[in-house]
Each structure stands twice: as structure tokens, then as C-alpha cells.
């Protein structure tokens, strides 16, 4: 029991981070049909914001506030300079954002060097109940992720912005004839998606090693989560993230990380092939 | 046994019944037209026959074989050719290349010059198909059918977007294809002038079923058909 509990917590915290990353990807994919291959790098930049702020001596929590703002602003620039011109050419967005991802990665290498960096834990203690002990920051991380995921769901299902966003997803042309500025909706959705990636990166920075190559390790599982869960309803991300993240982490503990990665990818590919609309159903992407 | 037999075809989309126990027989060598208002299920019917869609229930037999649930390319190989509503030509290929792709065997490729003459495109066989005028695209697609040489051809609004003269020429071409090449033809149309020119049996489709069959004059003077097009109260007032 005491051995199982930390494993469950580890798996859950990985799933939650994966869902956060996938949620940002999915907002952009669902709204604009854009596959953002640079999403992993935006996640990475979120983590590097923490590295940079630690270097100048700003407190950790300031970083958590600043990272989504900085990465979101970067998202705004990317939308205006790049995505805006090609969002009607979905396959080209894959390539163009791939170019962007290479450039961003290298920019970080040039600024921070290729070696990995670390961010100190803001909270050092552990929660101890009897024989059970678990790092406090990981619990905070999980709680914040749950909160963020909840907030994103609330934004898209309960607010006026969400109503407009869902309308633009369902029938963009009709939404425009009702006076809704679809371009603006696309832009802000992209910003929200990137800001989420930045925040996720900032939150996990203390518990992973931060390096320029870290994006890919979240990008591909993130995409697989979306496709496995189904790109239609938002809840698909939760299911997809749980399947991909859960299987991966459990197998990594029980067998080996290599076998886990191979198994989870193969399972994901099989699900996507056999059930292209995903476990939760919904429309198939263009 | 009819050439093409459609038996109680049912197809639903999200609770909307596109075809509803649709039954129709088409005799070999005949020319038939299917008319009806928008959304009555005509294009769905063609998609069912050509295997693009599979029916929820019912049966399609062609030349005595049950072809229900066959994949589209096998149905095409058995001899059913189709012209789409929006001209479905290969825009990145030239006119001649379009015909070469459509003609599967050598003997058909030899008559490409003849087909070009028939569809009035002799002058520019090496033009990119995407650069043709709209009416010419429609003709090229008919030419592709000739090259494919199926025994049954399905035409979905072959005169959409054509001028009056082009429409009449198309009607003549279709009649000739039917008579001289012995191809069985089933055509969907809105344009009653075109239908009149075809002078063939007519089936009026409404809500996924055949409402009336008959010749042009009978259909034109039928009150139910008028009601379908003009609206109920008007037809009743006229009656």
C-alpha cells in the first residue's frame, strides 16, 4: 500500500501535466485546425522563463505569473506573424510550425546553452502521514493542474467567450454572419493555448531537468492523447491523457521506460487507426 | 430481372431520412430522369448506387448481381459510371490526360480523338482541365464517362451552370449516347426545359421516395407535383 500510493500520485501528476499540454494543443487544433508542432517548445520556454527568473533572483511565484504572460505574448506574435497567413493550409502549418520549433529550440541553446538546467523547488517539505511521505511541491503541482484544467473547462463551457469559441468551432462561417469576429477568436484561442503551455512548463520546471530538447517528449504524447481521446469534445483530452500518460508511467515503473514508451505509442497508434474519432467520439479533423 | 434494381433502400443521416424505402427498376438501354426539389434525396441515391455510401437497409442489384456494400471501384468496374454534380475532373491534368485516366483499356484510348470531337474539345486537348470554362468542364466529365465506357451512366445535374444553348446540346449528346452506344442512362435534373428536351420517362422524388412516375406532360400537369414545387395552398387554390 505504501509503495503503491506514491506511484499512483506520480502517475496522476504526469497525467495532469500531459493534459495541460494537450489542452493547449487541442484548443488550437479544434479551433483553427492548426497542428502546432512548436507547442512543445512553448512548453519548454515556460520552463526556461523560470530558469531565467531564478538567475536574476526573482521569487518562484512571480515566475508562475510571468511565464504564461511571456509565452502567451510570444503566442500572439507567432499568430500575427505566422499562423494568420497559413491557417487555411493545415498541412503547411505542420511544416511551418516545425521550422519555428527548430528555430526556438536553437534560440534557447544560444541563450542558455545546450546543457540541462534546474530550477530549485520553492517548497522543500514533504507531506507525511504515518509512514507515507510525499513531496509537498508535487501535491501543489497537482492541485494547480486540476485547478487550471477546471478553469479552462469553465472558460470554454460556461462563459460568453466559450460560447463564441464553440460556435466558431462548429460553424465558423455562420458565426461570422452573426457578427462574431472569427479571426479575433482564433487569435485569442491561440494565445490561451500557448499561455497554457507556458504555464505548464513553468509548473513542472522544478521537478524535471530543463533542457532545449524537452519539448518533443511532451509534444508527441500530447498529440497522441488528443487523437486517442477524440478531437471533438474537451473531455476527450482527459480520457486520452489518462490512457497515454497512465499506461506510460505504470509500465515505466513495472517494466522499463523503453518498453513503456514503445507500448504506449503502439497502443495509441492502434486506437487512432481503429477508432479515428477517438474514444470519446466527436468529429474527425480535416 | 431489370438491369438495375433498387429495392427498399433506406438511408438515415443523423435522424434525417434521406431515402425511405426507395424502390425503382431501370431497364437495360433505357433513359430515365429523376427530378425533385432540393434535399429530396437524389444525390444520396446516387451515392448509394455507386458505393460511396452504404444503405442502412435494402438491396441494390446490377446485372443480376447484388452489389450492396461493394466498394466504389468494384462497382465502377462492373460498369457503372457517374458524373458528379460539381464537375469532378482532375484539374491538374490536361484534357487528354483526364480522358487517358478514365479509359482503362487500350481500345478505349484509341478513340480519345473521337471523344474529344464529341464533347467539342478538339481544339485544346493539352489545356489544363482546371482552366476550362465551367460548361466545358461538365462536358469533359461526360467525355470521361465515354472513355470509361460503362454500361450504366448516372448523371447528376449535367447542365448546372450551363447556358440555354449548351443545355440543349447536352441533352442531344446524352440522347445520342443512349441510342448509339446503347448505354443505360439515369439523370438527375432540376431544369425542366432540359428534361423536356430529353423526352424520357420521369420519376419525381420527394422525401426519399418516388412520388410519381410518368412522361413529361403527365408530370407537369399533376397536382401533387405542382404542390411539391409551388407550395400547398397555391396548388389547392389552382385545383
Amino acid at each position: 500500500m505504501n509503495e503503491l500510493f506514491p506511484i499512483i500520485l506520480d502517475v496522476s501528476s504526469y497525467i495532469l501535466i500531459l493534459v495541460l499540454v494537450a489542452l493547449g494543443l487541442m484548443i488550437v487544433f479544434g479551433m483553427m485546425g492548426v497542428i502546432n508542432m512548436a507547442h512543445g517548445e512553448l512548453f519548454m520556454i515556460g520552463a526556461y522563463v523560470m530558469v531565467a527568473l531564478q538567475d536574476v533572483g526573482l521569487p518562484f511565484w512571480a515566475g508562475i505569473l510571468l511565464a504564461p504572460v511571456i509565452v502567451g505574448f510570444l503566442g500572439l506574435l507567432i499568430e500575427a506573424a505566422l499562423i494568420r497567413h497559413i491557417y487555411l493550409r493545415p498541412l503547411d502549418t505542420i511544416l511551418a510550425t516545425w521550422g519555428l520549433s527548430i528555430a526556438l529550440k536553437q534560440l534557447v541553446v544560444l541563450t542558455f546553452g545546450p546543457e540541462s538546467q534546474s530550477v530549485t523547488l520553492p517548497v522543500d517539505g514533504s507531506l507525511e502521514i504515518g509512514a507515507f511521505s510525499y513531496p509537498l511541491y508535487r501535491l501543489i503541482l497537482m492541485a494547480s493542474s486540476v485547478l487550471l484544467i477546471g478553469a479552462t473547462f469553465w472558460l470554454f463551457t460556461r462563459t460568453d467567450f466559450g460560447l463564441m469559441a464553440r460556435a466558431v468551432i462548429a460553424r465558423p462561417a455562420t458565426a461570422a454572419t452573426l457578427g462574431i469576429d472569427t479571426r479575433r477568436m482564433y487569435r485569442w484561442s491561440f494565445v490561451i493555448g500557448t499561455a497554457l503551455a507556458g504555464l505548464a512548463g513553468a509548473l513542472v520546471a522544478p521537478i524535471i531537468s530543463v533542457d532545449p530538447q524537452m519539448g518533443l517528449g511532451y509534444l508527441v504524447p500530447g498529440f497522441l492523447s488528443i487523437l486517442v481521446g477524440g478531437a471533438g469534445p474537451l473531455a476527450g483530452v482527459l480520457v486520452g491523457g489518462a490512457v497515454v500518460g497512465g499506461v506510460n508511467n505504470l509500465l515505466a515503473v513495472w517494466i522499463s521506460p523503453v518498453a513503456a514508451m514503445i507500448t504506449v505509442y503502439v497502443i495509441a497508434i492502434l486506437i487512432i487507426r481503429l477508432k479515428p474519432e477517438g474514444i470519446m467520439g466527436g468529429r474527425r479533423a480535416k | 430481372m431489370a438491369f438495375l434494381e433498387l429495392r427498399s433502400l433506406v438511408k438515415n443521416f443523423d435522424g434525417l431520412r434521406a431515402t425511405d424505402n426507395f424502390t425503382l427498376d431501370i431497364a437495360e438501354g433505357s433513359l430515365n430522369a429523376l427530378v425533385g426539389p432540393n434535399g429530396c434525396g437524389k444525390s444520396t441515391l446516387f451515392n448509394l448506387i455507386t458505393g460511396v455510401l452504404t444503405p442502412d437497409s435494402g438491396e441494390i442489384r446490377f446485372k443480376g448481381q447484388n452489389i450492396t456494400r461493394w466498394p466504389p471501384h468494384k462497382i465502377a468496374r462492373l460498369g457503372i459510371g457517374r458524373k458528379f454534380q460539381v464537375p469532378a475532373i482532375f484539374e491538374e491534368l490536361t484534357v487528354r490526360e483526364n480522358l487517358i485516366v478514365a479509359a482503362k483499356n487500350k481500345s478505349q484510348q484509341e478513340i480519345i480523338a473521337e471523344i474529344l470531337a464529341q464533347i467539342n474539345l478538339t481544339k485544346d486537348p493539352d489545356m489544363l482541365a482546371g482552366e476550362l470554362a465551367h460548361g466545358q468542364k461538365q462536358w469533359l466529365e461526360i467525355g470521361m464517362l465515354l472513355a470509361q465506357a460503362p454500361s450504366l451512366i448516372l448523371l447528376d445535374e449535367p447542365t448546372a451552370g450551363m447556358t440555354g444553348a449548351e443545355t440543349r446540346a447536352t441533352a442531344d449528346l446524352i440522347t445520342r449516347i443512349n441510342r448509339e452506344r446503347g448505354m443505360t442512362v439515369l439523370v438527375i435534373e432540376h431544369d425542366m426545359g432540359f428534361i423536356e428536351h430529353l423526352a424520357c420517362p420521369l420519376h419525381v422524388m420527394s422525401k426519399g421516395q418516388i412520388l410519381k412516375s410518368g412522361n413529361f406532360t403527365e408530370i407537369r400537369n399533376d397536382d401533387e407535383v405542382k404542390a411539391l414545387y409551388f407550395g400547398q395552398t397555391e396548388a389547392m387554390a389552382n385545383a
Binding site: 511551418a96 523503453v258 497508434i269 487512432i272 | 471501384h73 465502377a76 482532375f90 491538374e92 491534368l93 470509361q148
Partner: protein, 324 residues
């Protein structure tokens, strides 16, 4: 006609280049030619077949490993013929592509963005697999792969020296390039264009779109496998990087920058990008990758047909005319 003329001139220039560029660069250029072959294979499947494959290096790697395993005599010690190795590499890659293609395209097949993500995931899986397949050298790969041994009527010699190797590789690339161009100009090329732009229409004419897709996928894999097989003989070793993600995305960049819808542009895209990399990475150092990423991005946005394809098209076809 003009198309072939321009290609002939370019291949003639390549053939003459060792006279000018010296021994070191001849060796480099040999490797670039092999990358060019890989680029041709991707252009065929992506630009002509409409299948965006994010994992083209898997076929390259499979070809490379098959060649290495056979010519090192790891399976049959008596059967180490280079010819058999090359053939087996092509056949092995093609068979793998057929199986994978059937899985991907049959029935309600996968296309577009989904295909890109899935091929990317598959290539990651394969790379990880090779890293841990210790019988095949694992992370370190297979060392001491022998060079290609050519046998003519009983006489045989090994391609150790740079110049003969260069010309042998150039010969293969030339044959593949012109063979593929010829094929694309035939009725098969028409069908390929038709299946890419309007698959439903093609199946309504009685063609099986699945078999067309499978055939182009397998053919492209065979060419990539051939390239991989030649490559391992040049360096003398096969490693998991051949099969993996990095090379897959690099070849994508070369082909996109060159021009995916034109074999010649894709081929030159690979050679020129690699050449530029050798020169510019010395001048710009680490900034080179940044420049490459940005160039790739800008060329996708502004010149979706490719940086090289636009001027080449103008050269080969003249203004506004189509050579057919």
C-alpha cells in the same frame, strides 16, 4: 524535353564536379547524393503521392540495417554479396512499407495531419527499438560494414577510393532519377496525380485508390532503402540515428525547401542544404540551425511550392506553358 535537358545538365555538372572540388568535398558530395536519393523518395510519396510521411528515415534505416547485417555475414556467412544486400534492402523496406501502408490506408484510412503524427510516432518507436536491440548493436549500432563490392564477370573490386565510389553512387542516383521521372510521365504518373487530388473520382472510374497508394508508398520505401543501404557502406557503420526522427525531419526540410512536387528540386534541395550546412555552420556556428529553421518556415509560408522549384519550373517549362 526541356525538363530532361536541365536535369541532364545538372547531372553532367555533378559528374564533372570532382575535377574542381577536390578529394574531401568529393567524399562529402557522395554522401549528399545519397541524401538526395532519400529526398527523391520522399518527393515521390509526398509531392506526387500526396502522403505526408514524417518518418521517411525508417525506410532508409531499414535498408541500411539489412545491408549491414547481410554484407557483414551475420545471417549467412557465405552470402555477403553487395548486390544481394542492395536488393534485399530495397525489398525489405518495400515490404515493410506495404504492411505499414495497408495498416494505415486500408478501409477508413488515415490521411493529412493524423498521418503526419502517426508516422512521426512510428519513427520514434523504431528508433527506440533499434537503440535497445542489442543483437543489432543497440545504441552503438553495427560497426565495420564492408564497402560495396562490385563484381563484373568474375572480376570484382571494392569501392574504397573516393572517386570510384562517387561515380558508382552518381550512376545509381542518375538511373533512379531518370527512371522515376519516366514513370511519373507515364499513365502511372497520371493516376498518381489523380489519386492525390481527387481520390473519390478516381475510384468511381474503377481504380483501387488503396493499391495506388500502396504502390507509391512501397516504391518510395524501396528507393529510401536503397539510399540507406548505400549510406552504411560509405561510413562503414549502421546506427539507430539512420532510422530515426532527426533524419526523418531533416529530409522533410530539404524536400520542402527544394520543392516537393518536383523530383529535381527535391534532389537539389537535399544536396544544396547539406552543402550550405557544411559551409555556413563554420561561418555562423550555432546560428546556422536557427537560420535553417527560419528559412524552412518562411519558404513554407511564402513559397509553398519550394524555394528551388519556382526557378526550376521557369527554366524547364518556359513561361506559362506546360511541357506535359
Amino acid at each position: 524535353m526541356r525538363n530532361n535537358l536541365v536535369a541532364l545538365l545538372i547531372f553532367a555538372a555533378l559528374a564533372a564536379s570532382p575535377l574542381v572540388i577536390g578529394s574531401y568535398w568529393t567524399g562529402q558530395l557522395t554522401a549528399y547524393l545519397v541524401y538526395g536519393l532519400l529526398a527523391i523518395s520522399l518527393s515521390l510519396v509526398w509531392g506526387y503521392g500526396g502522403i505526408l510521411c514524417f518518418g521517411q528515415a525508417m525506410f532508409f534505416g531499414i535498408g541500411g540495417y539489412i545491408m549491414a547485417v547481410l554484407t557483414k555475414g551475420m545471417i549467412l556467412p557465405d552470402l555477403t554479396s553487395s548486390y544481394i544486400g542492395l536488393l534485399a534492402a530495397m525489398a525489405g523496406a518495400a515490404l515493410f512499407a506495404l504492411a505499414l501502408g495497408y495498416f494505415l490506408f486500408a478501409g477508413r484510412g488515415i490521411s493529412g495531419a493524423y498521418l503526419a503524427i502517426i508516422t512521426l510516432a512510428i519513427t520514434l518507436v523504431l528508433e527506440r527499438l533499434m537503440n535497445n536491440w542489442y543483437a543489432l548493436g543497440g545504441y552503438n549500432g553495427l560497426l565495420n560494414v564492408p564497402p560495396i563490392k562490385l563484381t563484373f564477370f568474375g572480376a570484382s573490386f571494392e569501392l574504397w577510393d573516393r572517386l570510384p565510389t562517387f561515380y558508382a553512387v552518381l550512376g545509381v542516383v542518375t538511373v533512379v532519377y531518370f527512371g522515376t521521372s519516366l514513370l511519373l510521365k507515364s499513365a502511372y504518373g497520371l493516376k498518381l496525380t489523380a489519386s492525390r487530388t481527387h481520390p473519390d473520382r478516381l475510384s468511381s472510374l474503377g481504380y483501387s485508390v488503396l493499391s495506388i497508394r500502396l504502390s507509391v508508398f512501397a516504391l518510395s520505401a524501396a528507393i529510401a532503402g536503397l539510399a540507406g543501404a548505400i549510406f552504411v557502406t560509405l561510413d562503414g557503420f549502421a546506427s539507430p540515428t539512420l532510422i530515426g526522427f532527426t533524419l526523418s525531419t531533416e529530409v522533410l526540410i530539404w524536400v520542402a525547401i527544394g520543392g516537393k512536387e518536383m523530383l529535381l528540386a527535391a534532389f537539389l534541395g537535399a544536396i544544396l542544404t547539406r552543402t550550405a550546412e557544411s559551409w555556413l555552420s563554420e561561418i555562423f556556428g550555432n546560428y546556422w540551425i536557427l537560420i535553417l529553421g527560419l528559412t524552412f518556415m518562411v519558404s513554407v509560408v511564402l513559397l509553398p511550392k519550394g524555394l528551388l522549384a519556382t526557378p526550376l519550373e521557369w527554366l524547364t517549362k518556359g513561361k506559362g506553358k506546360r511541357s506535359g
